[in-house]
Amino acid sequence: MAAAASMVASSSFTFPSQGLRLPTRSHPCMKAQRRILRKDASNVIAATYELKPPPYPLNALEPHMSQETLEYHWGKHHRTYVKNLNKQVLGTDLEGLSLEDIISVTYNRGDILPAFNSAAQAWNHDFFWESMRPGGGGKPSGDLLDLIKRDFGSFERFTEEFKSAAATQFGSGWAWLAYKANRLGVENAVNPWSSENDKKLVIVKSPNAVNPLVWDYFPLLTIDVWEHAYYIDFQNRRADYISVFMEKLVSWETVNARLEKAKARAAEREMEEERRKKEEEWKPTDGDEDDEGLEMYVDSDDDSEAE
């Protein structure tokens, strides 16, 4: 998952209204750029987000998830989110931001702005397609399995809890496995985990378009439980859909790769935090630059706050 969208100037688009056309059955190796800059007739550069194809052909998840489902889910729903996102972003302050930044801004600490639904759903669906693969399912291994055992007791307990979260997300939404390595004081309206046990795996569910990015978690795996995700193949039987997803579709390789990134980011943040703390310690308190810091360790009659 590209963290930041890269920009590619393209001069091959003489008809900007057509956009970039992607074949519906794309080869897994074809990686389309997330964002392209293109010039329209009035020579203004407009940044757009594009619909990235799943990393497998639309029939590759059969019989567990039908081609028909992919054709509608990716070809219509996901495509519409991207289209609406572009419409809502064009000519606003959001233009030019990465998708994740748009999500963060428009989440607006829970007081959701209109573009959030489109942006988050565009992101969520990219993440969802990549969470699955043909011949998926089975069990994870290595570090990921160790962490799952550590934080859930066993892989079976994890599976139970994940399936339960997916089944009990009422209405539309998503269930997630995420890596939580929070800084305290994250500025968002809803943080479901108020106890601060840092650096662990968590299962969370979210309504509609909300995703764990807004809580500053690092998502590792998701299942879409909007009805459109399973209605063609399973009708009302969401539980069956969830079971098939776990047994036959989950790409543990992808989850593993994401976990590595999550740990790396957590380590980076820790170092950041350390560095910042050290800077605070040595910062002059009265604007007096020399040896001010040393006074902290010396008894004085001064009542001023030593920081």
Binding site: F170, G171, P207, N208, W226, E227, H228, I232, Q235, N236
Partner: protein, 230 residues
Amino acid sequence: MAILSLATRKTLTLGLNSTRLTQSCALRTFSLPELPYDYGALEPAISGEIMQLHHQKHHQTYISNYNKALEQLHEAIQKGDSSTVAKLQSAIKFNGGGHINHSIFWQNLAPIREGGGEPPKGSLGWAIDTNFGSLESLIQKINAEGAALQGSGWVWLGLDKELKQLVIETTANQDPLVTKGAHLVPLLGIDVWEHAYYLQYKNVRPDYLKNIWKVINWKYANGVYEKESA
């Protein structure tokens, strides 16, 4: 301990069935109300396949879960287990709301040969013209609200009993209309959960909204309106 006589009552419209003897008071459970028409009778506006799944699976599941939650609530109340009482509230709202809303919905629909789609006459028709200018204008507004609703929910034509005025409202998930205002009475509700239209209309919710008016039962809505505005 008081001994209650077991009385079994069956009513068709609300689906209340037998009372059950418990320690100190009876718990009413609910059952699936029968549809006043065949599953296929609303075609081509709404397919028989959808009607059957919607009624026999979705609505039934809400009722089953509602009954379960009520039983658990009943027990928790008797034990004085406030924590459980509080915890059950969302299950009751989801599933009880689902039962309420769908019970209204089945009556909001009628086959064309039984008056489905016929514009409202009587005082409701007049009120619509007064409040919205015309039936077309009302339908346009309801459809716009229904199409714009994110995720799952309902779009309603309601009567505000206090203000004596018709209102268009949306509710999320299975929240009943009354959660938007204690004086609101539902006249007409349109389910915009994906299960209500997906097999037939897929992602094109606006087409579902356009077509459902062919089978809307204005007679029922008018009846409620006249009763509540009396």
